[in-house]
């Protein structure tokens, strides 16, 4: 009895801290609101880039970090989302906002397709090789579908507005992106803290035991990859608006490694990590943008370093600072 009482108090103190922290956590995006006022055009662009990589990283992390699958199909989801948005805007004249959901849905459909090998029992390195081939095949498709995508020369994405509110201004994009990024984080957070998130982690840890608990593992593979495809596809539509030009080379192996760097450096299986990774990794290449090759060099070294010294990424450092950064219930890091 006394033992339990002590455990209770030990548990509740950080819990209270976490609750108060959580409020701060959700107030943080509000604090970001006046940010564009203090930044120049270019800095605003980088900020938008960060916000765009939030859903991209979050979606990737769900598959790799939570579901535990070595699926390299993220760039395919990203590219398909971007091209869906770009084509709907350029060919059908839709405004950007009307392409966000279709881009997400295209990504989700690709996610369902990418779950087929997993359902057939392909795992680990084999799955990685296969999804890598899938991504490269998609890139080839963008190149060859010249009538639709402009081929290897790429396509221009027309400027757009939101009911008359100009979306060609970086500061305006910022507010739209902020809403989307926060929405994706909140929705994914709810998913991961529910029985769905537990099912993902259970499958990652021990698929047989998960099934023995009545978890329909196949259905969760599809759900995990589809959700990933959905949010990454939305990220793709943000890319189309942000960069204004789509070319197949933007969705190659280098992009894949950048996205990997986001979740590895941020922290695998951690929502906080995805966000932190997006901030750190997106700003790095911009610093080195005048030196071709440096960005790859730095990413490579960063990932090597993280694997060797900080396998749970920057999120694990943050989790030690304040419990609000913890993704899970338990106390030890």
């Amino acid at each position: 009895m006394s033992r339990d009482g002590r455990a209770e108090s030990r548990r509740s103190a950080p819990a209270a801290r976490r609750r108060s922290g959580r409020v701060i956590f959700w107030l943080a995006p509000l604090a970001l609101l006046p940010l564009p006022l203090f930044l120049n055009q270019y800095q605003q662009y980088v900020l938008n880039l960060i916000l765009m990589y939030v859903p991209v990283g979050v979606g990737f992390n769900v598959v790799v970090g939570n579901l535990g699958q070595l699926a390299f199909s993220n760039v395919a989801f990203f590219g398909l989302g971007a091209y869906t948005a770009g084509i709907l805007m350029a060919k059908l004249g839709l405004p950007w906002w009307a392409t966000v959901l279709p881009a997400g849905i295209t990504g989700a459909v690709a996610g369902c397709a990418a779950s087929v090998p997993a359902l057939r029992g392909v795992r680990s390195f084999s799955l990685a090789i296969m999804t890598l081939a899938f991504g490269e095949l998609m890139r080839w498709t963008y190149i060859r579908s010249e009538w639709l995508t402009g081929g290897s020369m790429g396509m221009a994405v027309p400027a757009s507005d939101l009911f008359g509110w100009r979306l060609d201004l970086e500061s305006h994009k910022f507010y739209v992106f902020l809403v989307l990024a926060v929405a994706v984080v909140i929705a994914t957070d709810r998913l991961l803290r529910s029985r769905v998130g537990r099912a993902f982690m259970a499958i990652k840890d021990n698929e047989v035991a998960a099934a023995a608990m009545g978890v329909p593992t196949g259905r969760y593979y599809v759900l995990g990859l589809a959700w990933s495809g959905f949010v990454v596809g939305i990220g793709g539509s943000m890319y189309a608006l942000l960069v204004g030009h789509l070319s197949p080379d933007s969705f190659n192996l280098i992009e894949l490694i950048l996205e990997f760097a986001i979740i590895m450096v941020g922290g695998l299986g951690s929502l906080v990590g995805s966000v932190v990774g997006a901030v750190v990794i997106t700003t790095t290449p911009e610093i080195f943008s005048d030196f071709p090759g440096f960005e790859e060099l730095i990413f490579g070294l960063l990932i090597v370093l993280v694997i060797l010294v900080l396998p749970r990424g920057l999120a694990s450092l943050l989790a030690r600072l304040h419990p609000v950064f913890r993704d899970r219930y338990y106390e030890s890091a």
Partner: protein, 292 residues
């Protein structure tokens, strides 16, 4: 139309030889440590650049330059395994895949820093002639590439089957723990095999650079084709890698000519996806590890 068949097969074999050596180099690494090296394409690229540095940079003749390039990559592969792969070998496959990708990224970045995106060529150490064998045109490139690859295969066969090292190789391929029990230094062996894999990859890279431009990005192209050949032959099968490479080369040419030119590009992707879905063990091998 059928007249073209022999010609297509011959040039397919020549390309296939390159795929075979790349797939073989990846298989050596996989067999020794059951790690699929996602950075292997960049080792191939590094080998090509090393050959370029030793010929165009230092001015050595081709053959000594090739030997030096192979030696350099052997050391690099060994170092990579000892310093970066061995410490996490027991860890999740994700870390292993990422580590290899990251090392590849560093190599690619370094190549880009040094040579940017300029396209370099490796000077052929022989005249670019061709021979007519009946209806078939045989280029000097075809002959040299095939000859070098066959020599490498022969050397590998001798090492794995006839030399004292071969006994070690076979023992460790059978069972790692058993090999450790009988006093084989498994760690050193892992390093040697990674070195061998990297050196073989470098040979592939140098040969590739004889008739293709050198770019820092050539690794991805190579990696995908190496994977396809390896998958087709079956993971972990040395013979499978060679047969898979040759088959892939021939299929690219035949499908590219008779069906659609698109197949020159996409055969590798399609083969990888279809084989893993339909027959994951490939032609000769066992299915790759199933746990992450």
């Amino acid at each position: 139309m059928l007249m073209m068949m022999p010609q297509l097969v011959v040039s397919g074999v020549s390309t296939g030889m390159l795929y075979a050596v790349v797939a073989l180099s990846m298989t050596v690494v996989y067999k020794a440590t059951t790690v699929v090296n996602f950075g292997h394409g960049d080792l191939v690229m590094a080998g090509a650049y090393a050959a370029f540095v030793f010929t165009a940079g230092i001015g050595l003749p081709f053959v000594p330059a090739l030997v030096l390039a192979l030696g350099a990559l052997f050391l690099f592969g060994q170092l990579m395994q000892r310093a970066l792969i061995e410490p996490i070998l027991a860890g999740p496959h994700l870390s292993l895949a990422m580590m290899a990708l990251a090392v590849g990224n560093v190599l690619r970045g370094a190549a880009r820093v040094e040579w940017g995106n300029e396209t370099l060529m490796l000077a052929r150490p022989y005249p670019q002639t061709s021979f007519l064998l009946g209806p078939i045109v045989l280029t000097m490139d075809d002959i040299v590439i095939s000859a070098v690859v066959l020599l490498l295969l022969l050397a590998l066969f001798v090492v794995f089957h006839l030399s004292p090292l071969g006994k070690v190789v076979q023992a460790v391929f059978q069972t790692q723990r058993g090999a450790a029990l009988v006093g084989i230094n498994v760690r050193a062996f892992h390093g040697t095999m990674w070195g061998t894999g990297a050196a073989l990859g470098a040979a592939g890279g140098a040969l590739l650079a004889l008739n293709t431009a050198l770019t820092p990005d050539m690794g991805a192209w190579t990696l995908v084709r190496g994977f396809a050949a390896m998958t087709l032959g079956g993971f972990g099968s040395l013979y499978g890698a060679v047969v898979g490479g040759l088959l892939l080369g021939i299929m690219e040419k035949l499908l590219g000519f008779y069906v659609s030119t698109a197949f020159i590009d996409i055969t590798a992707y399609v083969v990888t996806i279809v084989v893993l879905l339909v027959r994951p063990q490939g032609l000769f091998g066992r299915a790759a590890g199933r746990s992450v």
